[in-house]
Symmetry: C2
Subunit: 287 residues, 2 copies
């Protein structure tokens, strides 16, 4: 028998529900004006967990009144085909949001191809121009997962100004943009990664630790001080098909406030992709 | 009488001279092929220290065989005029590099206007697309000052992989891009700023401290551990017209290896702007 977790749980469910309610209302109003917000998801993999994710996104879209097309390309699609597909969707006035789903076939670089997504339809902030504008403090869609971390922290009223935050993981889609969103809120941000020496001694000093490395069980009790806030961005599939984060949830949950996986950052991310799509549709139709 | 500094001095002079020699050689070869590399500097200020900087850049260009045009606009130039000027230069096949000099007239946002600089001529990495590509690990010109810090560290063989680095200052032109360049080299990077609580206690733990806040004397002996490496990016004009950095040089120089101001990052930055211009000219002429 193990003791139950005692730290507060930073659920994302309530904020995700609020966002979905907002999306539902705005999508209905848009459809009433003759424009149904439409999201296109470009997929070139048969990866199981990706398939699961895309279907759950399509379901969430359906429930909120956002149309969602999955554009399935061959798993050996060449970069030119992916680029042409993204360009075509960018030029299609009936499509308001575009997502390029990873993993991609070998030879394709996501950030490079995402340059073909029109910035005004780049609802997952994947185009390098969106990223650069975000870094420069100009209006742009932020990568949804990074923005979801901020929404989760805000939903639980976690103070950030002047606080220390470790972002563990330096991916272009999460860690790096998240560092900028945190800096914009006046946090002192440390970006850690696989080459960080003595990770635990670094993260243990922090007020907030965000785990976004894609390594199950990376963050353990020794990585976290008592009373810290820990956000788990990991979505790792286990052998039996379950989803686990980057944090050893039970032991960390005993000393810190921890976001669960699933049910933390994930549902907010999905809701934000839909919100961005509705916003893109509103701009496209002059609202 | 004060004691002389005892820490090693991280001069930028030798590396800058190497870079200028490389530029001189490549510019001459390019001119021989009929293409003289040409840099255009757009200025809309009468700020004294800016004028000094632009003249010194033009002098360095002249010495290395790079043509340099200063495009002086009125100090009340509206954003549209600045944008049109940058667009015109971007379309001019005789111009290979473009710099938008700050400060700008009120109402102009540098990062926004820099979007009008063609990325292939964006030799100071100011276009948000260049910045986003840098963050995403795609080829792009890095902001010259940020790249100069890396060159200075490399010139003095300062190890970075797995080391802790504090970047003090979160500007779009230096602090933020520098954080990414350091991450690319596997450093564990902490970005500090005016809202950082107990700055000294953060920076004192670091192997390397880069001061890029624009505040004279911000980094004192108490901010730095014995034997640390300190790079001073500050270029603050004193009342009597001298140039001082962000570091209290004398007291910090007694316990750390410190880059001087002037003579540290500055000359490398200038040389890199010219190197980028020569590279842009080579690409434009198919070399």
């Amino acid at each position: 028998m193990t003791a139950p977790a005692v730290g507060p749980t930073l659920s994302g469910s309530a904020r995700a529900a609020e966002l979905r309610a907002e999306v539902t209302e705005r999508a209905a109003a848009s459809t009433e004006r003759g424009v149904t917000p439409r999201l296109a998801v470009v997929v070139a993999t048969e990866d199981e967990s990706t398939g699961w994710y895309v279907r759950s996104l399509a379901r969430a879209a359906g429930k909120t009144g956002v149309a969602c097309d999955t554009v399935q390309l061959p798993t050996d699609a060449r970069p030119a085909l992916l680029r042409d597909t993204l360009t075509g969707l960018s030029e299609d006035p009936g499509v308001h949001g575009i997502i390029l789903q990873t993993p991609l076939p070998p030879g394709s670089v996501a950030a490079d191809l995402a340059g073909a997504i029109a910035p005004e339809k780049d609802v997952d902030g994947a185009n390098p121009l969106s990223l650069g504008r975000l870094v420069a403090g100009l209006p742009a869609f932020a990568p949804a997962t990074a923005e979801a971390v901020m929404q989760l922290l805000d939903a639980h009223a976690v103070p950030l100004s002047g606080r220390t935050v470790a972002v563990v993981g330096r991916s272009t889609v999460v860690g790096k943009p998240l560092a900028h969103l945190l800096l914009d809120r006046d946090a002192t941000v440390t970006v850690c990664h696989s080459r960080t020496a003595e990770l635990a001694s670094v993260t243990r000093r922090m007020d907030v630790v965000v785990a976004a490395a894609g390594r199950p069980g990376l963050i353990t009790a020794e990585h976290v001080r008592d009373g810290a806030v820990v956000v788990d961005v990991g979505t790792n599939a286990t052998e039996d098909g379950a989803l686990v984060g980057d944090v050893a949830a039970e032991e960390v949950g005993r000393k810190a406030a921890l976001s669960p996986v699933p049910g933390g950052v994930g549902p907010i991310t999905t809701a934000l992709l839909l919100r961005h799509t509705v916003s893109a549709a509103a701009v496209a139709s002059g609202h």
